[in-house]
Every structure is written in structure tokens, then in C-alpha cells.
């Protein structure tokens, strides 16, 4: 242990049972995880994305799964002390939560993590392609982020425009936390009278130093986000691309209905945004509030629905909105949304959007979607209900049969490509991990044949891990409903020529329930091989597997 133990107060807010890790501990954990891996991704954001429902956390969880689907290791770093702005620079250590592949492994100082990553240069992980991804800087020290990037020496570094925290500590660019400010010059009068104004020049200087130190590819989830980023800042970047977190694909049409009951209207998010307009809308519509349980507030005329999308239930909100047959979702945002997860979920649930101008990508979605309506401001939305247009609109939409959409998450950085490499492949990359090392076999007509090293007398209970890429499809589409993580569909498995059938006790962990003709692995299945010298695995060519183009070998 090279670092001092964390203070008691830190222990109180750190993840439960998370040990304090020194540089050697971090290096050991990463090195172990990287055995037989295809790459190492180090990502940085503001919280433990697996525990928080949100528009940034959901894509990070999706990104992690899809990188894991290509057998890349996903090391995530978030500040133990959550903060809205940057962590102050100072001599004391900055403690980070260290997660690997979605599991908390401990807490470590930023300096310790940098030391650990630098030491990978002499180990087996040094040969892996490495990526560095910054999703958010809140609570981080940009100087420490730059040091981590320098230690990692990534093939590519990406900076995501989830918000505008690069331009101001108010990441949503809300002047005095009240109104969108358009990111005016730091010496403007608006900044002078804003609570975030006095610290803004130093904030910008620290972020600029990071961008000067790390050659970032800038990634925006929408064109609107990229335009505003460029207007708000002139940070140096290698290039800039637009890569959505998710897409909406047409998926059938709802049956026409003559239902003339009042519009079913959903408010989503904090109650403070819609409290004032609720009485007018509730006079002509059936109103619901969809939010995580802690955000729900009992208000007259409002039915409360606890709902959220989480990394483990990514379509939770879509399903809740659909189950309540919502006609209209009010996408109220005081700032230009860079993506608008709620708006995507609303459309996927079969609802129309009511949005206001200035809400960024949400406004674009509403303008492009037949049946959604874009308003000048909140007052215009209220008037839409007061004068009966909302009820007429909903009747017409029900009668016409709405176009349905399927929401598909892209994997964010995991599917970015700088060449024509597609994000999927028909090659599952089946291999073994034996005694901490990768063992490749030979493949003929879907059958992989592995020659196992001679076993010693103590190897009667020798096991191997049967690893592969993950199948594309699971978790990615609401319509599919597949919750399992799938690796390969094994139709036949033999040790020294003798079958090891589905359900055989030698198929240890990582095997799903047998199906007629095959048994799925979860991509990392354990197998008791004992003293066998050959292993033959026949894989059904069912589908395509995840491949992160950025980790592919250069052409």
C-alpha cells in the first residue's frame, strides 16, 4: 500500500466495502482483467454509472457492455466526492472509485491510478490497444485526468459532449442556476452577476490545459450539441464527430382507435419544472408524473408513477410510459439538451413530444416527428391545453394510428469507427484462458479445436475458461426483451473426442440453460477439462457479435 489510508469522512461516502487500493493493487487488478483481453478502455465520468439513472450514465453502461462484448476491459474512474464543478487543485490526494467491467473494485488516488497505468507498459497489457474516454469532468481534477491519459498512452482519446461543463462549472449553462446563458464571454456582464462567473476563467483555463495535453477526438451525441460546444468554447481538438447514443427505428404502427377519453399526459423529471402549469393542464387531461421514486411529489391532479431507466433495466421508462398508454410527454428542458434520453424514450413508448424551442436535440426530435409539437415557451404549451387543441390533437393521433419506434442503444464509443470497420462481426473469436494465458485453437467449419498442454498429476480438476465475443442484440432493443448476456451457442463440445453434452456437470459457471440443439455461454464459461489434451467446440453460426472498431487491428 503506497497511499495513505482514506480519511474517515471519505470512507463514509465511498462505496460500501470498497478497499483502498494502492498503485500495485490497481496494476494487479487491471493486469489480471486484461488476460486474453482484446483491449483496455479507461473512462472517466462524474459518478458510479451503475448506481445512477440518468442520460449520461445509461450510455456509459451501454458502452461498457459493448466494449466487454468485444472482450475489452473497461476501467472506469469516478470521484468519490461528487461535485458539480471541477475538484479544486491542491496538494491532497483526489480519491477515485475504481470500477472494472461494471463492478466496484475499490478506491484509489488519481496519482495511484496514473502510476498503475504507467506500470502496465512492462506487462502483458502493454500490447493491448488502449482507449481513453472522458464522459464528464465534474468532481475531477483536469490535471489528474491529463496525467492518467499520459500514463495510459491510448491509441485514441475521446471527449464526449454530454453537457457543457468544459465551458463553465454550470454544465447546463444555467446562469445563476436559473436560465440558459448561451455561454457568453467570461468577462461579460452576465458572467459577472452569475454565481458561476467568478470561477469561470480559472475553470476554463484548467480545462484548456487538459485539452492541450490530451489530443482528444470530440464526440457529440447530436449535431446541436456540437454546434453549441463550438459556440461556447474554442478548445483544441483533433476532430469532431456526431455519434448518437441511441437511434429510433420505425417499428410498426398502432391500430387506429376512436378513444375520445381525455389526453393522457406525462410529466417526466423534477416536479419544479411543471408545477405552475399543472393546474391548467390537469383541467383537460389525465396527468401522470414519471420519475424515480425519490423525485415524486404528491400534487393535486397528478398520478405518480415510479419509473426510471437504469443500467440493469435500460428500458424501464419506455415500458412504464407504454403501460400507462401515454399520449403526450412534456419534454421540458431549461437548457439545450445534447441528446434527450427522455424524449427518445417517449417516442419509443408510442407517445408524442411537447417540447419548447431552445431545448436542443429534443426540439429537433419534436420538429422532425409527426405528431410531436414544438412551442415557443411553456406558456404556449399551457395555451395548447387551455384552448382545446391538445384534446383534438390526441383524438386525431389515436384515430390515425401512431407510427411506433424501437429504441436501440449504439454503444457510444464502442461503435465509433474511423474507417469502414463495422461494429459487428461474424467471428466470435473463441479462445481459451488457461493458467492466466490465452490459448488459441484452429477453426474448421465452425468447429474450434484446441490442443491443451500436458497435464500434471495435480491437474485432475484443471479448468479452462471458454471465452468469446458477445452476441449482438441482447440488451440493445426494447422489442427483443432479451435480458441475458450471450456469448456463443455451443452445439457440440468434446474432450479427447468424447462428448461433454449440455447439462454435463463439467460445464461449470457461465453456461445458460440448455436449449434444443445448443447451450449458450455468457461469453466466459468455465469448463472442467482435467487431464484432457484436446478440446473441440462446435459453434452455431447464429448471428453477429460485437466488435469495437477502434480496437481492431489497423488495416
Amino acid at each position: 500500500m503506497d497511499e495513505p489510508p482514506p480519511a474517515t469522512s471519505l470512507r463514509a461516502i465511498a462505496p460500501p466495502a470498497a478497499p483502498a487500493l494502492g498503485p500495485d493493487d490497481v496494476r494487479r487488478l487491471v493486469t489480471t482483467a486484461c488476460v486474453a483481453a482484446r483491449g483496455l478502455v479507461v473512462s472517466v465520468s462524474h459518478d458510479r454509472y451503475i448506481e445512477v439513472a440518468g442520460g449520461t450514465q445509461l450510455p456509459i453502461a451501454d458502452e461498457q457492455r459493448k466494449f466487454n462484448g468485444d472482450r475489452a476491459v473497461y476501467l472506469h474512474l469516478s470521484p468519490v466526492h461528487a461535485a458539480l464543478g471541477l475538484a479544486p487543485s491542491g496538494p491532497g490526494p483526489l480519491w477515485l472509485t475504481v470500477m472494472i467491467d461494471g463492478a466496484v473494485r475499490g478506491i484509489a488516488t488519481a496519482g495511484g491510478v496514473a502510476l498503475a497505468l504507467a506500470s502496465l507498459a512492462s506487462g502483458p497489457a502493454s500490447a493491448l490497444p488502449r482507449l481513453f474516454v472522458v464522459h464528464a469532468l465534474h468532481g475531477h481534477r483536469p490535471e489528474a485526468v491529463a496525467a492518467i491519459a499520459a500514463a495510459l498512452r491510448p491509441r485514441h482519446a475521446f471527449f464526449w459532449v454530454h453537457d457543457f461543463g468544459t465551458a463553465c462549472a454550470s454544465a447546463h449553462l444555467l446562469r445563476n442556476d436559473m436560465a440558459f446563458c448561451h455561454a457568453p464571454p467570461p468577462d461579460s456582464m452576465a458572467c459577472r452577476v452569475c454565481v458561476h462567473g467568478p470561477g469561470r476563467p480559472a475553470h476554463i483555463a484548467r480545462v484548456r490545459a487538459l485539452f492541450q495535453a490530451v489530443p482528444f477526438h470530440l464526440v457529440a451525441p447530436s449535431a446541436e450539441a456540437l454546434v453549441l460546444f463550438r459556440a461556447a468554447t474554442d478548445l483544441p481538438v483533433l476532430d469532431a464527430i456526431v455519434h448518437p447514443h441511441a437511434g429510433l427505428e420505425p417499428a410498426g404502427t398502432a391500430a387506429p382507435s376512436d378513444d375520445d377519453s381525455p389526453p393522457r399526459v406525462a410529466f417526466v423529471g423534477p416536479a419544479a419544472r411543471f408545477r405552475d402549469m399543472l393546474p391548467t393542464i390537469a383541467a383537460t387531461a389525465t396527468c401522470f408524473h414519471f420519475a424515480r421514486r425519490a423525485e415524486l411529489r404528491a400534487l393535486e391532479g397528478l398520478t405518480l408513477v415510479a419509473a426510471e431507466s437504469t443500467p440493469t433495466r435500460p428500458f424501464g421508462m419506455v415500458r412504464a410510459l407504454a403501460e400507462h398508454r401515454i399520449d403526450l410527454v412534456l419534454a421540458l428542458s431549461p437548457w439545450p439538451e445534447t441528446f434527450g434520453t427522455i424524449a427518445h424514450e417517449a417516442l419509443a413508448a408510442g407517445a408524442d413530444l411537447l417540447a419548447t424551442e431552445g431545448s436542443g436535440h429534443v426540439a429537433t426530435l419534436a420538429a422532425a416527428n409527426e405528431g410531436s409539437v414544438l412551442f415557443a415557451d411553456d406558456a404556449a404549451i399551457v395555451a395548447f391545453f387551455r384552448d382545446g387543441r391538445a384534446a383534438a390533437h390526441v383524438r386525431a393521433r389515436r384515430a390515425g394510428g401512431r407510427q411506433g419506434f424501437a429504441l436501440t442503444y449504439t454503444g457510444s464509443t464502442a461503435t465509433i469507427a474511423f474507417d469502414a470497420t463495422p461494429p459487428t462481426t461474424d467471428r466470435p473469436d473463441v479462445h481459451l484462458v488457461l493458467r492466466g494465458a490465452r490459448l488459441d485453437g484452429t477453426e474448421t467449419d465452425g468447429m474450434c479445436r484446441f490442443v491443451l498442454p500436458p497435464a500434471g498429476p495435480e491437474d485432475a480438476k484443471r479448468t479452462v475458461r471458454l471465452r468469446s465475443r458477445h452476441l449482438r442484440g441482447a440488451w440493445d432493443k426494447d422489442a427483443e426483451g432479451e435480458r441475458r448476456r450471450l456469448g456463443i451457442a455451443v452445439a457440440d463440445l468434446r474432450l479427447d473426442g468424447a462428448p461433454v453434452p449440455a447439462g454435463d456437470p463439467r460445464r461449470l459457471g457461465g453456461w445458460h440453460k440448455p436449449e434444443p440443439g445448443w447451450q449458450w455461454t455468457d461469453g466466459d464459461a468455465a469448463l472442467l477439462v482435467g487431464a484432457a489434451t484436446t478440446l473441440e467446440v462446435t459453434v452455431l453460426p447464429f448471428a453477429r457479435y460485437w466488435r469495437a472498431p477502434l480496437l481492431a487491428d489497423p488495416a
Binding site: R175, N176, M178, A179, C181, H182, P184, P185, S188, M189, A190, C191, V193, C194, V195
Partner: protein
């Protein structure tokens, strides 16, 4: 053109006057900023750095006002700060300033007074209309014959009024913060014009929540000095600490013959005005 700006204040006004100084300076870095202090410091308070935002600070007793203590005695705090404007104006004109500008201490400046020079080409005295209080808290006087006459006389005649202009630009003072709007470029506008200055005691209901009022309150708090009791004014009480009643000040105005006996009517010792007043009561 040399422009000298001043405000008049007591120690109670000091936090607000410091906000005036910190906001005026970036708008007009070439202007000299003076303060006339109608007060004496609280006991054991001696932080001269509190006035660092000002180029010069004069006390009311340095202005050459005849019988200054009886003069002060005739005024309450607000009246004294208002009454001292004319002597200060004369003082600065006499020093040779081309233009003298007065700001009330509770004004904050947001954008430069770009139209000032142009307006003073055709006028010698600029005023702003009062919003809700007795005056607009702003005055600019050119150092010419009309300006000098204005500074010297207490009741300007009709001829002088021809050289007086009332600035009705919506940005020169504002009656309600609800009329303010922030521009995408980061400016603050009133009805489409830049907000030049705002007198915060003069903008509607003080309980009205508005981010600009919140900002002003934050700045005033930041400039509030420890060691200055709330509402402090040295000339609010006799030398023994007894508060001076309003009736005593009114009596002092009505009875110059009596006041002539007391060179320092604040002095409560011996044959004092305080004793005389108490006897009258």
C-alpha cells in the same frame, strides 16, 4: 476630458459604495472616483483598505463647509449625504474637473455611460428621472458657466433649466427588475437598451426574487466589513451615546440663534445643546 465621479456615504453605506466602485471601475477605468465620507469611523475600526476602490476619500469636515458640525446636526443621515453633494460638486469643479458625475452609493454600474459625452455637448447638467424615490441618484455637471451656477445655487433659475437635460434612456436607471433581459452575448438590457446602471433601493419590491438582486446582495455581503455595527452613523448620537431625536434636529434648524451658542452641538458635556434641549423638553 477629465471626468471625476463621486459618491457620498456613511459607514453604513460603505458595502454598497464599494459595489459601486467595483462596478464603475471596469466600465470607466479612466474616471477618477472620489468619496465624501459623512461620518467618522466606529470605535476601534481603522481599515483604510476598505476604501481601496476609491481614488480619493474626503471627509465632510474637509470640505470647508462653514460651521460644519452645526450644519451636520441639522440633518439626519440621508439628508446629510444628500446635502453634502453640492459642496463636494463645487469642490471638484474648483479642482478643475471637466465633468463631475455623482452616483448614489446604492447604484451599480453595468455598462459604460456611452452617451454621457454626447449628451453633455448640448447640456451642462444631466439628471435621470426618479424611479420610485425622490431622485434618480445620478447627476452629471459640466465645468462651464451653467454647471458652476448649478453648483453654487440652491434654487436654479429658468435660464439655467435650458442647460439641464433629463436622460430618459431606459438603461439609465430602471424601475423594475422585471424589465431586464439577458442577451445571448452576455449583456443586460432594458427594453432593448443596455442596462447602464441600476439603483437597487429604487427597483420595486425588495422581496421580489430576481437574480440581479441576489447578485447585488451577494456583493454587498462580500463587501461588508466586520467592526461596523448595523446602521452605524457617528452623527446619530450625542457624544455620550444618547440618540439625537428628530425633534432636536428640527429645532436646530428653526433656532439658529440657539445653535450659535454651541460650536459642537454633538458634545453632551457641560453647557451643551443636549442639556438645553433636555431642559426644553
Amino acid at each position: 476630458m477629465s471626468i471625476v465621479c463621486f459618491t457620498s456615504l456613511t459607514f453604513t453605506d460603505l458595502p454598497r459604495a464599494r459595489v459601486l466602485a467595483e462596478t464603475l471601475r471596469p466600465a470607466h477605468p479612466d474616471w477618477a472616483l472620489w468619496a465624501v465620507l459623512v461620518d467618522r469611523p466606529p470605535p476601534s475600526y481603522a481599515n483604510r483598505a476598505a476604501f481601496a476602490g476609491f481614488d480619493r476619500v474626503l471627509t465632510v469636515e474637509q470640505l470647508g463647509i462653514p460651521s460644519v458640525l452645526p450644519w451636520l446636526f441639522r440633518h439626519d443621515r440621508v439628508e446629510a449625504c444628500t446635502a453634502v453633494q453640492r459642496p463636494m460638486l463645487r469642490h471638484l469643479l474648483a479642482l478643475g474637473a471637466d465633468t463631475v458625475v455623482y452616483f448614489a452609493p446604492d447604484i451599480a454600474v453595468f455598462h459604460p455611460l456611452a452617451a454621457l459625452a454626447e449628451r453633455l455637448e448640448t447640456a451642462s447638467i444631466l439628471l435621470t428621472p426618479p424611479q420610485t424615490g425622490p431622485d434618480g441618484g445620478f447627476l452629471a455637471v459640466r465645468n462651464d458657466a451653467a454647471g458652476g451656477t448649478f453648483a453654487d445655487c440652491d434654487a436654479p433659475d429658468a435660464e439655467l433649466f435650458e442647460r439641464v437635460a433629463v436622460v430618459r434612456d431606459p438603461g439609465w436607471g430602471v424601475a423594475s427588475l422585471k424589465r431586464l433581459a439577458f442577451t445571448p452575448a452576455g449583456g443586460i438590457a432594458v427594453d432593448g437598451s443596455p442596462l447602464v446602471f441600476c439603483r437597487f433601493s429604487d427597483v420595486g419590491d425588495a422581496s421580489e426574487p430576481h437574480e440581479l438582486r441576489r447578485w447585488y446582495e451577494r456583493r454587498v455581503t462580500a463587501h461588508t466589513e466586520p467592526g461596523i455595527p448595523p446602521g452605524f452613523w457617528h452623527f446619530a448620537s450625542f457624544s455620550d451615546g444618547t440618540p439625537i431625536p428628530r425633534a432636536a434636529r428640527l429645532l436646530a434648524r428653526a433656532r439658529p440663534d440657539v445653535m450659535a451658542r454651541f460650536a459642537d452641538p454633538f458634545d453632551a458635556a457641560g453647557d451643551s445643546f443636549a442639556a438645553w434641549f433636555a431642559a426644553q423638553a
